[in-house]
């Protein structure tokens, strides 16, 4: 009955590799997000999709490419991984109608801990 799930939970890889992180939510939400949390616990939004359409694209290197095959999934593909990409990546979801009503609550996944060596 997991609400927002992410795979993998841990990812250790070499610099220069390409990797993907998957996110799925079974809450019936139609807005999904990717956040990056650095080693100092600072959380920064990267992307947001609403009904498979990109609505937020913060200043993120274009090595990061989100893909939303349907409303329940938002995957993050990272090309040419760099040391500075090491972080915890969180997926989140919410209901658009709640957001528009000013009552949005985002539900977070457990995080994917990425370590680039």
């Amino acid at each position: 009955d997991t609400a927002v799930s992410q795979t993998p939970k841990y990812l250790v890889t070499q610099m220069g590799n390409d990797k993907s992180i998957k996110c799925e939510q079974n809450l019936g939400h139609d807005t999904m997000y990717w956040y990056k949390q650095d080693s100092k616990k600072f959380l920064k939004i990267m992307f947001s999709y609403n009904n498979k359409e990109l609505i937020i694209n913060e200043t993120v290197p274009n090595r990061f490419s989100p893909k939303s095959p349907d409303k329940a999934h938002l995957n993050l593909h990272i090309n040419s991984l760099e040391l500075g990409d090491s972080a915890v990546y969180f997926c989140a979801s919410s209901k658009t109608q709640d957001r528009l009503a000013g009552e949005e609550t985002q539900y977070f996944g457990p995080g994917t801990r990425l370590l680039v060596l």
Binding site: V4, K40, K41, F42, L43, K44, I45, S48, I55, I56, F90, A92, R99, L100, G102, E103, E104, T105, Q106, Y107, F108, G109, P110, G111, R113
Partner: protein, 111 residues
């Protein structure tokens, strides 16, 4: 533009004593305000939220927060800390698609 400031990066209390985690916000609009908790190696869990209803909001695990517009504050309190409360706490201000997280306050609970 919105922003949120958590006034303490680290708070340490003894078990059974009150907890106060301070948060000030800045927003041009009437914002929604949240507190999230993150236990070690876990995701973020919603503790409570304020969305322009009652100014005193009760959350899970005995936490509550009071929205004070005049002071632009949304401090989180709990009357009696438990060891299991040790975690990182994030204050969040949100308006439409703009959701801003505070830098976090690490709560340590001593036996």
């Amino acid at each position: 533009a919105q922003s949120v400031t958590q006034l303490d990066s680290h708070v340490s209390v003894s078990e059974g004593t009150p907890v106060l985690l301070r948060c000030n916000y800045s927003s041009s609009y009437s914002p929604s305000l949240f507190w999230y908790v993150q236990h070690p190696n876990k995701g973020l869990q919603l503790l409570l939220k304020y969305t322009s209803a009652a100014t005193l909001v009760k959350g899970i695990n005995g936490f509550e927060a009071e929205f004070k517009k005049s002071e632009t504050s949304f401090h989180l309190t709990k009357p009696s800390a438990h060891m299991s409360d040790a975690a990182e706490y994030f204050c969040v201000v949100s308006r439409s698609l703009d959701m801003r997280f505070g830098a976090g306050t690490r709560l340590t609970v001593k036996p």
